[in-house]
């Protein structure tokens, strides 16, 4: 019984990590959003499984929040924004997929090397969960760095937050207040991001963040 618990937790966290990799090289807006929704569903399954093996029913709330908000509502809203902005067919320039994937692999190795050896006192399951979570967080970060489009940066950020929730639920008995706050912060983040996407569009007629560069800081003094 214990082994099954361990294996399923592994499978689900591992599939989140795989989806993070899939996110890294997607160049079509709709595909990015769909993969993100899949990752959120994997997250909610993972959280639900944690609720079962930790016998912590309150985690189910987090699972439901994850699947409803990040699996359906937010992707649907982003799809709408993307369609309204007319970029749903756009193919985004991504830094060549090969190097990005290699860096991603490096980050996964890094997070395993960081988390697994330390803290023998913490159970192996919690540590492996943490390693997975850290990898998802770092890949989200990588995605934010390598993308130019504000919408994909949003997705990178939310995928990073998926990693955070995975980490929080992997920590046994972590008080609910934090999980709610994470879900809440995602919501706020989404609102803020949504506003910004429109503002950037309004100002620059593009959601390419690269367009912002020409206004950077004091450079305007020289022009």
């Amino acid at each position: 019984m214990h082994n099954i618990g361990f294996d399923v937790a592994h499978l689900l966290a591992g599939s989140m990590l795989c989806l993070s990799f899939v996110l890294l090289y997607q160049d079509r807006m709709t595909a990015v959003l769909n993969v993100f929704a899949l990752q959120a569903i994997a997250l909610s399954l993972s959280v639900a499984w944690q609720a079962y093996i930790q016998e912590a029913p309150h985690l189910l709330i987090t699972a439901v929040i994850a699947v409803v908000m990040k699996g359906f509502v937010i992707p649907a809203a982003l799809h709408r924004i993307v369609r309204r902005l007319g970029i749903h067919r756009e193919i985004e320039k991504v830094i060549a997929a090969g190097p990005v994937m290699l860096i991603g692999l490096g980050l996964v190795a890094l997070s395993i090397l960081l988390v697994l050896p330390v803290g023998q006192s913490v159970s192996l399951l919690a540590r492996e969960d943490l390693a997975f979570a850290l990898a998802v967080i770092l890949l989200g970060l990588l995605m934010m760095i390598t993308r130019y489009n504000a919408v994909t940066q949003i997705v990178g950020f939310m995928s990073l937050e998926n990693g955070l929730v995975l980490a929080a639920t992997g920590a046994k008995g972590m008080p609910l207040v934090v999980e709610i706050s994470v879900a809440f912060s995602v919501l706020i983040a989404f609102i803020v991001f949504g506003i910004f996407v429109f503002r950037i569009r309004e100002r620059f007629d593009t959601v390419d963040v690269g367009a912002l560069d020409q206004f950077r800081g004091e450079r305007r003094d020289q022009t």
Partner: protein, 499 residues
């Protein structure tokens, strides 16, 4: 000397006042901003909003100061101790004075049309949300709640930085948001790690996130995992403090947002983030086998100080100039806490207070200057001493104070830090002096640019109030001349606690 009898009777009167209310001062510090957020969000009229903002901030300050009557409180969720009570009072005080400044500042921005009432709609509500969130972060005993406080305060300031909706403002807000969220995500991961470490020893649930419980049993924590956690916390909260490699958001956010927000960002939010870091440092200090946090803080502090010192020379935008000066002073404070020991910690605490008061005063002055001159470019602000003497005096005093000249309080704290460093690590003291001198030169150079020469720009009159500006400067001056005995005793107690 302050006669003690009236003081005691005033305290009794205040205690009696609170006894008649259904809330304690601690609850009030959190509830007043929360109620003000709702109220202000419903009021579109900006004049009334500004007035209510001042009122709510004033009441919060009163509640914060009332915490002194009964300074000890703890549950698993909230805590009031010697360390955070002074920061609560400082935060609520500066938030109060800034709200007064903000009222006149915003009025002027509307007149000149830089802001329209439509964009201003939620400004005051956000202001209260920010101060409330900072208060939550400060009085939280639960490290998760601490994180939530910092997170909400960040998001509200992001929205306010972007309020002008110029391309520069949008870019600054975007950068701030991205870097801030990444920072806060890493801080949260660190918090989870700390909880994991703690729950092995303390047991699951709330007490494993309560800061004081953790500190009490920190010696039995797994040192490796605790050290790893601190690295994440350092990068996460360090981003918010604006320490050198993670500072990129700070100058933009300070320069492009409304000046009242620059004042609270610099004077308060950076402090709150540093406070969070120090709380975790205290946990690590209680465990001998962890990494040497002091050394890391010293290195980060020095890098920030020297880097910012040099960056100050190339500034053309006056708000950006003082943003870099904030990085410099955060570096000094971080350095002080990294050195540790009673004297250096004392200096760090004093410097935190003095920097908050001085820097917000400077931003008040800069806000008025930018409004009368219609620009933030240093090259376009000339001859201030001829055109606006009172403002010029305010700015000059502020810059002299922040550059660390006697008799202002910043000098006192820097002097204490220097003498304590010289006694223990002379080479570090040399580096510290070098950084301070570099920054000093830049500030005085830029000040003379602004002060003298042919008066330029429109000689507009200022209707704004100077009261907050000179009140802050007076406090900084008073602290430089004479620190009251209770304050000294109090800082000493915290300094020993910090280790």
């Amino acid at each position: 000397m302050i006669p003690s009898i009236p003081l005691a009777s005033a305290a009794a009167a205040i205690a009696e006042f609170w006894a008649g209310l259904p809330v304690t001062p601690l609850q009030a510090v959190l509830i007043i901003p929360a109620m003000a957020v709702v109220l202000l969000a419903l009021i579109p009229a900006y004049r009334l909003g500004a007035l209510l903002n001042v009122l709510a901030s004033g009441l919060t300050f009163f509640a914060g100061a009332s915490l002194l009557l009964d300074p000890r409180y703890r549950t698993d969720i909230l805590i009031v101790d010697d360390f955070n009570i002074y920061l609560v009072i400082l935060t609520t005080f500066v938030a109060f004075t800034t709200s007064i400044f903000s009222a006149s500042y915003i009025g002027h921005e509307l007149e000149t049309g830089r802001l329209t009432p439509r964009f201003l709609r939620y400004y005051h509500a956000l202001y209260q949300a920010m101060t409330g969130a900072m208060n939550v972060a400060l009085v939280a005993n639960n490290v998760g709640l601490l994180w939530v406080g910092v997170e909400v305060a960040t998001l509200t300031t992001v929205m306010m930085v972007g309020i002008y909706r110029t391309p520069e403002a949008v870019e600054a807000a975007w950068k701030y948001f991205i870097l801030g969220s990444v920072g806060i995500a890493l801080a949260f991961f660190g918090t989870i790690l700390v909880y994991l470490v703690a729950q092995e020893v303390v047991g699951e649930g709330l007490q494993a996130m309560a800061w004081d419980t953790m500190r009490a049993s920190a010696s039995r924590f797994d040192p490796k995992l605790l050290s790893l956690a601190f690295v994440f916390l350092l990068v996460g909260y360090g981003t918010k403090v604006g320490l050198a490699p993670f500072h990129a958001w700070l100058p933009d956010a300070h320069a492009e947002g409304p000046t009242p927000i620059s004042a609270v960002l610099s004077g308060l939010l950076l402090n709150v983030a540093l406070y969070a870091l120090l709380r975790f440092k205290m946990i690590l200090a209680a465990n001998a086998a962890t990494i040497n946090v002091g050394l890391i803080l010293i290195a980060l502090g020095l890098i920030s100080l020297i880097f910012a010192g040099f960056m100050l020379y190339r500034r053309r935008d006056i708000k950006r100039l003082f943003a870099y000066s904030s990085i410099e002073h955060m570096g000094v404070i971080t350095f002080a806490f990294g050195m540790g020991g009673p004297l250096a910690n004392f200096a760090g605490l004093l410097h935190m207070t003095m920097h908050s008061l001085t820097k917000s005063a400077i931003f008040f002055a800069v806000g008025h200057i930018a409004q009368v001159k219609g620009t933030q470019r240093i090259a376009d602000i000339k001859g201030l001493s001829a055109s606006h003497p009172v403002l010029a005096v305010g700015l000059a005093l502020g810059v002299i104070a922040i550059a660390g000249l006697p008799p202002f309080g910043v000098f006192t704290s820097e002097f204490m830090l220097l003498s304590s460093t010289f006694a223990r690590q002379p080479w570090l003291a040399v580096a510290l002096v070098f950084g301070l001198v570099v920054a000093f030169g830049a500030l005085i150079l830029r000040l003379s640019d602004v002060m003298f020469g042919e008066a330029s720009g429109p000689p507009g009159k200022i209707k704004a109030t100077y009261a907050p500006l000179f009140l802050h400067l007076a406090l900084v001056l008073a602290a430089g001349l004479w620190l009251p005995e209770p304050v000294v005793r109090w800082f000493r107690a915290v300094a020993t606690q910090l280790g």
